[in-house]
Structure formats: structure tokens, C-alpha cells
Amino acid sequence: MTLLLQLLWTFSILSLVAIGGANSALPEMHRRLVEMHGWLDDATFSQLYALAQAAPGPNILVASVMGWAIAGPAGMAVATVGMLLPAATLAWIVAGFALRMRGAPWLKPAQGGLVPIAVGLLLAAGVIMAEASTAQAGWPALAIVAVAGAIVWRTDYSPLWVLAGGGVLGLLLL
């Protein structure tokens, strides 16, 4: 029981560190789970991270996998709730604030100021993924990135084709 409470607390803190997504919380996650509490060893931590990346869905679910590894299904539940609830509550409050301020002349331009940051960080995430991918699988991976990027940018085909194509090309080339 105390372990579950500790997990809930730990992941609640991580939730508030994860600005921009799970990856910014990763160093802190490693520090707390591996170094501070010794709940996981280094290798397990990396494997679980890779596993969470392979699954669909928000990569914040890496927390759920770690929770499972530490304390089974209850651990997964507690880690997921801890990771989602504080941030979701804050988002709720901010959304309410934006709703109340609707019509204020500064709101739209202020929100507009966040747009280039949002797009820039998305692009950066893609570049980082591409680098990791090329580092692991070499130049053919970079070719897949380029073709996939061009298709998604220039056409309206479902990106599912791009991922499926990437999988097939991976089997053939990598």
C-alpha cells in the first residue's frame, strides 16, 4: 500500500515536470525510479521505454508501463492516474480561464503567440525521432523518413499508409 502511495506521489510530480510531453520528464523519471528509489534497474528502464514507444497512443503511457513493472496492475493504474490527473486538472482550469476571457481582445493574439512554438516543437520532435531512427538503422531509415514526410506534407492520404509502408520497407531494407 505504501508502495502504491509512493508511486502515486512520484508520478504526480513527474506529471507536472512533463512540459511538452513525456520526453521532458524522462530524465527526472529515470532519476526517481532508478536512482532514488531503485524500483527499476537501468536496462529495464530502457527496455520499458522502447516498449512504450512501440505501442500506439501518447508516449506519456511510458509511465503506465513502468508502474506495471514496479507493482503489477495496481501499479499501472496508480502510475497512470498520477501521471494524468494533476496535468489534466491544470488544463481544465486553464481552459476555463480561456473560456471566461473569451472575447477579450488580447486572448486570440496571445494564443496565436503559442502557435509557432507548438509547430516548432512538433517539428523538432520529428527531427529528433528521425535522428534516433537513422542512428539505429542507418541511411535507409533516413530515406524512409524523407519519403514519409513528403507524403504526409504534400498529400492527404492517411498516415497509416506511411507507417505500414515504413514497416514493409524496414523488413526489406534494414
Binding site: G57, V94, A110, G113, I151
Partner: protein
């Protein structure tokens, strides 16, 4: 509660573009849940890319700009940016039930898949073929995220200073590897100030406007 956060599309000062095209559809509760269920299920490699695909292109709940604004707010808040976006989009259309439905929908399928995957991983993780295929999918996902960002940048008709902010964000996050919280804390005030200046509001300064 169901009123949109933003002004109606037509009264916006931006010139209409072929992409930011007309009206958006207001989803019912079931639609909201199913839409986010789809986002979660499809969300390999980059949920923000898939969320944009489903919300802007497929279901037209939001325009390109509205989605980008909500994603931007999701990004400066702690927590997963798409998770924050789900809360805000859900609330916008259906209040608390909407926020719960959107959030629940998005996490349900991936959680189930992760449970199965955790159980299967030890048996299949190292089978020949699995690794190259996963690497290929990962490369495709990287391309998908890059392509989505380029598509958004193109359609949003960004101002010169917005393009500069975008470029700084990319360089800082992708090449300099500065931590995201730091980038957001430094860049958001600058970018918001520039945006207020562009809107002609900076004379009265942002904080003064906020107090009212």
C-alpha cells in the same frame, strides 16, 4: 459551456484560406469519445500528428488555427500536450463529461494494447524481423511528424516573426537539445509579446490588459 473558446470562424480578421475553410462540425458526446478513441488507437509515433489528422482533416471539429492554438496551450502546460488538448477540446464541446470522454477515449485503447504488449514482449521482442519492421515504422512515424509540422506551418500562414520563433524552437529543441520547459518559459513570453504587437495591442502592454 458548449460555446467555442474562440470567436466564430467567420468573424475572425484572418483572410479565409482554402485550407482554413469554413465551418467546423460540433461533435456529439459519442462522436467525441469515438474520435479520441480513434486518435489513441492510431496514435503510433506521434499522437499530436494523428489528433490533427482526425480533428482537423477528417472530422472538422476545429480549424487548422484553432487546433494549433489548443496544441500550443497544451504544450506550455505541464503534462502530455495531447492529453491537455483532449481536456480542453472535450471541455469546449461538452464540459466536464466532454473532457472525461475525450481523455478516456484517447487512453483506453493504448492502455489495453500496452498491457497485452507488456505480456507478449518477452516472447516476441527479439524475433528476427520484428526489430527491422519496428525500425521501419519508427522511421515512417518520424516522417509523419515532420510532414505534419510542415503541413501545419504552410497552412497557418505564419507571419515573419512567427516563422522566426518556429525556427528558434526547432533549433533549440532538436539541435541544441535544450530542455522543453526552458524553451517554453523563454520563448512563450517573447512570442506572445510579438503576437500582441502584431495585433496592435502592445502599446497598452499585455499585463495591463490582463488585469481587466
Amino acid at each position: 459551456m458548449a460555446r467555442p473558446i474562440g470567436l466564430p470562424v467567420r468573424s475572425r480578421p484572418l483572410p479565409p484560406t482554402p485550407f482554413d475553410s469554413p465551418a467546423t462540425v460540433s461533435p456529439g458526446r459519442a462522436d467525441l469519445f469515438l474520435g479520441f478513441l480513434r486518435i489513441g488507437l492510431l496514435g503510433f509515433g506521434g499522437v499530436a500528428a494523428w489528433a490533427r489528422r482526425v480533428i482537423v482533416e477528417e472530422r472538422r471539429w476545429l480549424t487548422e488555427r484553432e487546433y494549433a492554438e489548443i496544441l500550443g496551450m497544451g504544450q506550455i502546460l505541464p503534462g502530455p500536450n495531447v492529453g491537455n488538448s483532449a481536456v480542453m477540446i472535450g471541455r469546449r464541446f461538452h464540459g466536464l463529461p466532454g473532457a472525461l470522454l475525450a481523455t478516456g477515449g484517447m487512453y483506453l485503447a493504448p492502455l489495453c494494447i500496452l498491457i497485452v504488449l507488456s505480456l507478449l514482449y518477452e516472447n516476441f521482442g527479439q524475433k528476427p524481423g520484428v526489430v527491422p519492421m519496428m525500425q521501419g515504422i519508427a522511421a515512417g512515424a518520424a516522417g509523419m511528424v515532420i510532414g505534419t509540422a510542415l503541413k501545419m506551418a504552410e497552412r497557418l500562414r505564419l507571419t515573419v516573426e512567427a516563422v522566426a520563433i518556429l525556427a528558434v524552437a526547432v533549433v533549440a529543441a532538436a539541435w541544441l537539445r535544450i530542455s522543453l520547459p526552458l524553451i517554453v518559459v523563454v520563448l512563450a513570453p517573447v512570442s506572445i509579446a510579438l503576437s500582441l504587437w502584431r495585433a496592435g495591442l502592445i502599446g497598452g502592454n499585455g499585463a495591463g490588459g490582463m488585469a481587466r
